[in-house]
């Protein structure tokens, strides 16, 4: 039987890093070569085509190649496998490239892979299935149907907005503000129905926030790369609903592939008349323009982002008057996150009420998470709201790497918090996470094990924010400077009694007195780790010990000769050549050369690199002295 087959090669940034482009080239060459054979009668591959798609989310096992319509998924494909794959088309799949599930069985179909089995893809519905550079691919899967219908039938904007309100969709960028309400407010002000009503139609703007900055989150990048038309259609519908004729897509400059794909998609959408000077021949206008971010985390904050679009410093302004009333150049402006927008065409196609059935009562629909850190299966996943942390980490993520103990999961990026083991059964939605002192944020989920020090994690986030704060208001700029100094002191053995309380006091000042959300949420990582791991802080301060064996100034490393298998991994990993040993002589660490970086411990697969408190106890010596005058720069 001869059938048209499509080889979908994942070409997301992750897979490209693993040479996916070469794999696609090799497959194309193999198909072409087989095509020659086809003339002499090999039918199996005569009509195979190779498509380069966006990210499948399982980057760790990339490059991924899928065969349609057989529904075969291959992982870790190398160019050398191309011929084998092409030769197998129509026959038995190539076993060596299939995934093995937790029971060590081979799985062929994507949905039989435990990583994908319980996912529900809405925001990611097209990614990995289409070539993002081919608009027809998007249209074949129902793309631009909704926009075209709304515009051709001149559906009243209120109807569109009501559908969004009914769906219960909340902004996926972090704050979780109801999208429909935001649109309604802006539409009201634009039409002159607002408080400052003078009856005339005001210009309005729509923006897409693609300045994904939360470390550990990459769903927006993936969506922009893999389904740019989905985002453009969402933004165009938004513009229709609020009466905007101009819009901006603010995208991080570091996201090269996303910028390239979105810019190509804008050109083809304009060519087809979905945007531009005369949308679908109706005389409507919509100009969409890409603005490249400059590498400033704070520009993910809505008002800072708008300042940045206007060509100003990315300093937030007070939100006593919302952007929906006075945003870009003081006109009504709607700013939505990438993931929010890509949901819009789907919601309008299936109906708001239908969408609202998914998820929890207060958070409808699905959410994309990037599950990373110390889990066996890392990647981008999309599940209905309300899934438990345990389900995400242990079923989809396959549990903790090397069977270590789960310690905490950090959600919501630098504005979020760390959630400990006792809340693993927490149902994840906007409010559930906030109640536990964390945040949904953009959906980053970083899993930590017993080798992660929670004080160090807090110090890391505060350091990040101290650098990324815009520096405009006193509590955020100065508060973070002091919190960073104190946390550095604690991790380096100079902590003092009262430091924990002082951190809490500074944290509350930031929460209440800062200008923008970055400052108000900045202490969350500190406050949540103090709340759930206070004993770890105390161990650093009073005993001068880092219980997780991470903080170099408090930790000595040694090799347990009993457990050591002389595999040599630690020696190879040591950047200072401090480890000596071989099959005959036991491995030992030369403390004079050791910088306590922990590379050996990370490399050891037998738990034979152990830690103990620093022999002399620098901490004890430091505990009495004041950290005054000592400021981390």
């Amino acid at each position: 039987m001869s059938e048209t087959r499509t080889l979908l090669v994942c070409c997301g940034t992750g897979c490209l890093a693993n040479h996916a482009s070469e794999v696609a080239d090799a497959l194309e060459a193999a198909v072409a070569a087989a095509g020659v054979d086809a003339v002499v009668g090999v039918e199996a591959s005569d009509a195979a085509t190779v498509k380069r798609t966006g990210c499948n989310g399982f980057c760790e096992n990339g490059p991924i190649v899928k065969v349609h319509p057989d529904d075969i998924s291959y992982y870790k494909v190398r160019p050398k496998h191309a011929e084998k794959i092409v030769a197998s088309l129509g026959g038995e799949p190539v076993k060596a490239l299939l995934y093995r599930n937790d029971e060590k069985q081979l799985v062929t179909r994507q949905l039989d892979n435990p990583f994908y089995a319980s996912q529900r893809k809405i925001a990611l519905r097209n990614i990995g299935e289409i070539d993002p550079l081919v608009i027809e691919d998007y249209q074949e899967r129902g793309g631009y149907v909704v926009l075209e219908r709304i515009i051709r039938e001149a559906v009243p904007p209120e109807t569109v907005i009501q559908e969004l309100i009914d769906s219960g969709l909340r902004g996926r960028g972090g704050a979780g503000f109801p999208t429909g309400i935001k649109w309604k407010t802006a539409a009201g002000y634009a039409r002159g129905g607002g408080a400052d009503a003078d009856g005339g139609q005001l210009p309005a703007f729509v923006c897409c926030n693609g300045d994904e900055g939360d470390p550990g989150a990459f769903m927006d990048r993936s969506i922009l790369e893999g389904d740019p038309h989905g985002v453009i259609e969402g933004l165009a519908i938004c513009a229709y609903a609020v009466g905007a004729e101009q819009g901006f897509l603010y995208i991080r400059d570091e996201y090269g592939l996303a910028l390239k794909n979105v810019s190509a998609a804008l050109a083809s959408a304009e060519e087809r008349g979905f945007i531009g000077d005369d949308i679908l021949g109706t005389g409507r206008k919509l100009h969409l323009e890409i603005v490249r971010g400059g590498g400033a985390f704070v520009c993910g904050e809505s008002t800072a982002l708008m300042q940045s679009i206007e060509g100003q410093l990315g300093e937030p302004r007070a939100k006593y008057i919302r952007s929906a009333q006075r945003g870009l150049w003081d006109y009504p402006t709607v700013l939505n996150n990438v993931e929010t927008l890509v949901n819009v065409p789907y919601i309008l196609a299936c109906g708001g009420a239908e969408y609202a059935k998914l998820g929890t009562a207060r958070s409808s629909g699905t959410k994309v998470f990037s599950l990373v850190g110390k889990v066996n299966r890392t990647g981008l996943i999309e599940v209905p709201m309300g899934a438990t942390l345990r389900h995400l980490i242990f079923d989809i993520g396959g549990g903790i790497k090397n069977d270590r103990a789960f310690k905490a999961v950090q959600t919501g990026g630098p504005s979020g918090g760390c959630i400990p083991e006792q809340y693993l059964d927490l149902e994840v939605d906007f409010d559930g996470l906030t109640e536990k002192g964390a945040m949904m944020g953009s959906g980053g989920m970083i899993v930590m094990d017993d080798h992660d020090c929670m004080v160090e994690v807090a110090r890391y986030y505060v350091g990040f924010l101290a650098e990324e704060s815009c520096g405009k208001c006193t509590p955020c700029r100065e508060g973070l400077r002091h919190m960073q100094a104190i946390l550095t002191d604690i991790t380096e053995g100079r902590g003092q009694p009262g430091d924990i309380e002082l951190l809490e006091r500074l944290g509350h000042t930031l929460q209440q007195a800062s200008l923008c959300e970055l400052g108000k949420t900045a202490p969350n990582p500190v406050l949540s780790t103090i709340k759930y791991f206070r004993d770890e802080y105390e161990a650093h301060i009073t005993a001068g010990v880092c219980p997780a064996g991470v903080c170099p100034e408090l930790t000595d490393f040694y090799i347990d000769a009993e457990a050591c298998t002389s595999c040599n991994a630690c020696k190879k990993a040591c950047p200072t050549g401090a480890i000596e040993g071989d099959k005959e002589r036991a491995y030992v660490i030369d403390m004079a050369l050791c910088i306590s970086c922990g590379s050996c411990r990370a490399a050891c697969r037998f738990d034979s690199v152990c830690t103990r408190g620093k022999a002399r106890g620098k901490a004890a010596a430091g505990a009495g002295t004041s950290a005054e005058g000592k400021v981390a720069s």
């Binding site: 940034t13 992750g14 490209l16 890093a17 693993n18 399982f58 980057c59 760790e60 900055g213 939360d214 470390p215 550990g216 989150a217 990459f218 990048r221 993936s222 400059d253 570091e254 996201y255 090269g256 603005v291 490249r292 971010g293 400059g294 590498g295 400033a296 985390f297 940045s308 679009i309 206007e310 060509g311 100003q312 410093l313 990315g314 990037s370 990373v372 850190g373 110390k374 890392t378 990647g379 981008l380 950090q410 990026g413 970083i446 930590m448 992660d452 890391y460 986030y461 990040f464 815009c470 190879k572 990993a573 950047p575 200072t576 910088i595 970086c597 922990g598 590379s599 990370a602 490399a603």
Partner: protein
Amino acid sequence: MEERIREIAQRYPAEKRFSLAVLQDVQREFNYIPPEALPLIKEHLGPDVREGQLYALATFYKALSLKPKGKHIIKICDGTACHMQGSTRLITAVQLALGIGPGECTPDGQFSLELVNCVGSCALAPIMIVDETYHSKVTMEGLPAILDTYRPGGERDV
């Protein structure tokens, strides 16, 4: 150089909102913002734009640099996932290997070392990007060989 900067500025309409875009393009061309650039950019963008504002932008946005960079720019991702998977160790190892800290350039101008925020390749942590090439799951063991390819005469030193 001045002619080139003028050409870059003229890619954009003379409006304040294109300040950042022009600066980014200048950065891309020269690997930094030369001091000569600000007056020329101001001249093109018009009276709404002030030199002080351009300088503020150049120091505010991390993508822009006022100092020239090395021939090969090593970016180590210090996003949370990479941090958890040992980016700090990687930074230490690169520092030891090249003798430069983050934000510095080797005396011979061969390498610059930068810490960058999450590049969104968390599943492949730790990530090191040299020029445009992503090196994923970099190990201490594999690091020296990667660096060697960028040293003078190395296969990637082009």
